[in-house]
Symmetry: C5
Subunit: 290 residues, 5 copies
Amino acid sequence: MITYNPKDWWKLIFAFHRSDSFRVLLPGMIGLALYTALIAYIENDYLHVTFKNTTMVHSLVGFVLSMMLIFRTNTAYDRWWEGRKLWGSFVNNSRNLALKLQAFLPAEAREERAMFRDLIGNFIYAAKEHLRQGVKTEKLVETGSYTADWYAKGGHVPNQVLKGLYTEINRLYMNQTITGDHLIVINAELQSFADNLGACERIKRTPIPYAYSLFLKKIIFIYVFTMPIGFVLDYKYWAVPVVTFVFYAFAAIEVIAEEIEDPFGLEANDLPLDAITDTIRGNVRDILEG
Amino acid sequence: MITYNPKDWWKLIFAFHRSDSFRVLLPGMIGLALYTALIAYIENDYLHVTFKNTTMVHSLVGFVLSMMLIFRTNTAYDRWWEGRKLWGSFVNNSRNLALKLQAFLPAEAREERAMFRDLIGNFIYAAKEHLRQGVKTEKLVETGSYTADWYAKGGHVPNQVLKGLYTEINRLYMNQTITGDHLIVINAELQSFADNLGACERIKRTPIPYAYSLFLKKIIFIYVFTMPIGFVLDYKYWAVPVVTFVFYAFAAIEVIAEEIEDPFGLEANDLPLDAITDTIRGNVRDILEG
Amino acid sequence: MITYNPKDWWKLIFAFHRSDSFRVLLPGMIGLALYTALIAYIENDYLHVTFKNTTMVHSLVGFVLSMMLIFRTNTAYDRWWEGRKLWGSFVNNSRNLALKLQAFLPAEAREERAMFRDLIGNFIYAAKEHLRQGVKTEKLVETGSYTADWYAKGGHVPNQVLKGLYTEINRLYMNQTITGDHLIVINAELQSFADNLGACERIKRTPIPYAYSLFLKKIIFIYVFTMPIGFVLDYKYWAVPVVTFVFYAFAAIEVIAEEIEDPFGLEANDLPLDAITDTIRGNVRDILEG
Amino acid sequence: MITYNPKDWWKLIFAFHRSDSFRVLLPGMIGLALYTALIAYIENDYLHVTFKNTTMVHSLVGFVLSMMLIFRTNTAYDRWWEGRKLWGSFVNNSRNLALKLQAFLPAEAREERAMFRDLIGNFIYAAKEHLRQGVKTEKLVETGSYTADWYAKGGHVPNQVLKGLYTEINRLYMNQTITGDHLIVINAELQSFADNLGACERIKRTPIPYAYSLFLKKIIFIYVFTMPIGFVLDYKYWAVPVVTFVFYAFAAIEVIAEEIEDPFGLEANDLPLDAITDTIRGNVRDILEG
Amino acid sequence: MITYNPKDWWKLIFAFHRSDSFRVLLPGMIGLALYTALIAYIENDYLHVTFKNTTMVHSLVGFVLSMMLIFRTNTAYDRWWEGRKLWGSFVNNSRNLALKLQAFLPAEAREERAMFRDLIGNFIYAAKEHLRQGVKTEKLVETGSYTADWYAKGGHVPNQVLKGLYTEINRLYMNQTITGDHLIVINAELQSFADNLGACERIKRTPIPYAYSLFLKKIIFIYVFTMPIGFVLDYKYWAVPVVTFVFYAFAAIEVIAEEIEDPFGLEANDLPLDAITDTIRGNVRDILEG
């Protein structure tokens, strides 16, 4: 994620960032400009055609296309924002779990505190990597009987770490270090860990239905490539910037939606999972060692 | 569900997939093109009529029609996405239930672990088939006293499997293998199983109100079939592609909405329930045997 | 509720169902057509007026009117869909309650099972009738000490049945047939019964604020009755179908919204409460006797 | 709140209710009509100006203005509807609390039942008055040691009543009239009482951000007062009803939003809190004495 | 936050508040007016160009731009309103926690009551400052063993205070001043404290994706600076107020969204956190000492 000041208009207007949709679309815009210029030359200077232009149709279809693009934007943004909420929830759950363990464990249980600190950190780290290219278990902290080999056992690393957490909590309960009331109170966080992870996997694996993706790209394509046919009659070579601008306005919305739809990657607009993971580890360490 | 790369524009623009709305609407589009050509011939070459065209009215009604189509799209997509969330929740609940049982059951309770592994898998499989053509109980795994006959008893197979799960959990509680605190903690998942299944049934059985379906199809029909009357005066035979394009833009939105409204089927845009079911079974096996 | 195939376009386009908004609006459409024809005759053939037509104003106001109608549609649909969710929740709660009682009650408690089966069924039936014309308590199943007279005692029949359910559950708890853990687990469903019923009453008793209803009807009225004044100058007698079509498009949205806003009645687009009630009773019987 | 039949079109079209936005805006509409007539006279009959009219600009800005008004309507309606839900939740919580107490208290505890009946009723009454002009504690029912003086102690009357409720529940728990399981089950309703009250206070005290209120009123003002300048050239004196109608359409949406934004008052479109309070008291009395 | 009467139209129309978007945009509006006048002079009086104006294109793009601005407004407002809800939830949780402690603690536990009163107040104060410029721990109330130094220990002050609260609650539970049932009931509020704080941090740290901010500012810029080129041909020097007005309408929406997007600051439209903090402290003091 890029940190920026949303109030600095001039800087943003002339920004030309690597992942700016303006830059992504530049080749398409240049191609379209050449195509429009060609049509303008053929119709006006070569064929000298004269027929009523189609602006009314482009107006009509432009309307329904805009609305579908907004629908697209809403669905993509919802995933991005839900992803952000889920990772915010990871922050909260980790803190709450650490706070509860800190309060409920007897003062002398230093070892258990350290183990939980490591397991929580490992779970978050594994969740993050699992949503990206897969977890390298040798990067997880080894603690107690939980070794890199053990973590790699189940195939699904975050689940495996969670299994460790559940087992340790239940052990404390069975040997009466914590009470049944404590168990009930702690359960909320463990359950939420699994729920949040599952929700992240859902977002990652489910793009917008194929039919909408097809539909939008087809409509934008037909719309933009038929536009010069009528426009060059009225606007002559001025149609070149005009058509290019309209293309940019429509296509950029689709392009941004594609990028933020899967918010767990490493692209410029994706969520800052590395920073969040570090925050969580720091918080948990502060709380459980403090 | 089709796996695709949303960023591959050219491939999607020229895709002509079996369930692409473009292909579904092709017969209608060809028919409409012929009809428009006929009107163009009659009005321009035969009757030589001249009257003010109706583009303004089509503009006005086109607006309210577009908005209703977006409303339609939103309601259909909400069901699709809610359906996806419910199956994501099945994933989470299965994992949590398995994790809890793994932690709470004494290490030597291998048989119980195996039975729960089978019952959870059966429940998910039965839920999936129940939302499609109905469950064939002989495909369920037999485990303990739970046979194909027993599963078929109640009429509603997933409920029957759930009954088995509740009974087994309560048995563990009554013979004090698990404590009351454990029971309370485990209850959340069983309850959620039934809630999710009920929600899926609700989505499946409740299409958008009949009145909206009637209204939208009537308006699209009147809209598209009156369009050529005015358009052919201005655009001559160019009205043929113009009207066809407008029809595609409007009707495709309705057609896609119809398909994704019931997301549990086997159509191209439906949810990948088979894959999710396999994931769940794999996860539960990993956790309970690991 | 009407069961229909949303993909059967031709049938829906030419359907002329009792509750189709097209039929409901027919008298209004005929009246408006005559009015428009009259205006056309007066302005064109009698007064021979010529002034700039008002299509631009109708375009402008048509836009804000469309948006308010979509707002109206969204609020009405939300109530309909929330109503559907609430009754889906009744299904889930009934199932869960039955499953829990089946598992928690000792095998020999046949009488208690039968009583709960009857009380749950009675509650759902009473809730349904309460949302319609009021409950006839003689139609409720008498069970144990719960007679038609007893049900009629409190004035609010579903509450009275719920009181019976709470009393019975607490009796089981006090005589230790079920444990405190069981009580906590069962409480969720009883609580949800009352919450859902209250939410249904809220939907039933609270139409959209009076001011919006006034506003929309006034604007549609002024809009449609001023439309012919300008239109007949351009379109002559063609204004008759044009104005009628625009009226249909706008008024139908309002008319459908009025109908689905209170989804618990017996109109064609209302929810299938009778069928849902039967499903619930069947499910509960299957589970508690199986 | 006004009870009305949303299907009675004629009555609503010609209604001229005290709080109808049409009536509220009448002075403004008359003023604007005079202003438009004046402009028409000056431009057409006095200055004889001729310049291109600005309808295109009003079309463009009219669009974004309409969308902001719908945004405004959505936020206002959301508060109104959330307010309604909160009071629906008060109904549900009161019922559930009464039902639970009725079931959990021993049959002979008549005095306790009466006290809870009074305290619940007092809480709801105090919540309602607190959201209006402030609570007159002498109107609360005195019960046990809870006198008008005691209620007035804390400054925030509903909190004070809630304190009484919590204290009484805990007393029952400490002297073992109810068990710990009962306490956990009852806690949900008390907690929800405080949450709902807090949410009502939030709605009451937080109108839409000041910046939006300023923006909308400024835009409507500039929009409407510049409109006649161009319109009178085309429409002559017909511009008077036209401009007035456009003003009504826009301003009424803002005026209604202002009214329903704070739904707890005594205006015509506000929520029927008095009726709901009576319903709750009746329900609680039925349940706890029945 | 500014307290204002939303129904006082005249005052709001002519208000010229420090943070009014009209004032913020004034320099830009003046610059744009000069630029437009220059274009008008060059095109009309110097070059005497004549070409078809581009209003149609500005109409088309104006539409999709409006919709994106409304999307922007919705996302910004959602954060503002979620922020308000979170602080409303802080109010509710504090009250509930105080009410529960008041009821559950034995009458003689004056010291504990005082300590909880201070700790709750400290947590809310620390949360507020943490969302602004950071907490000065010397401003927190010292109570029991909790000194300014102790508060400053963990780096994240609100977490540290929460740690104190959890520790004290668990101490009461371990020495049996409160029961396990009490612990479960009290846990809800502590957990919610951490969840709400985390959600506030999420809102504060996550502005709308960078790509949207870039896109909107670029489109507004291109839109407004190309507008005069066509407009001055039709409107001559009248284009100056027209273009300025259109710029105001679009840019103000973006500017307001930027301001309310982070609602925890000290700007005019931000939430009244100081007042809410005082309310909470007052409420808690009333309840725990009353």
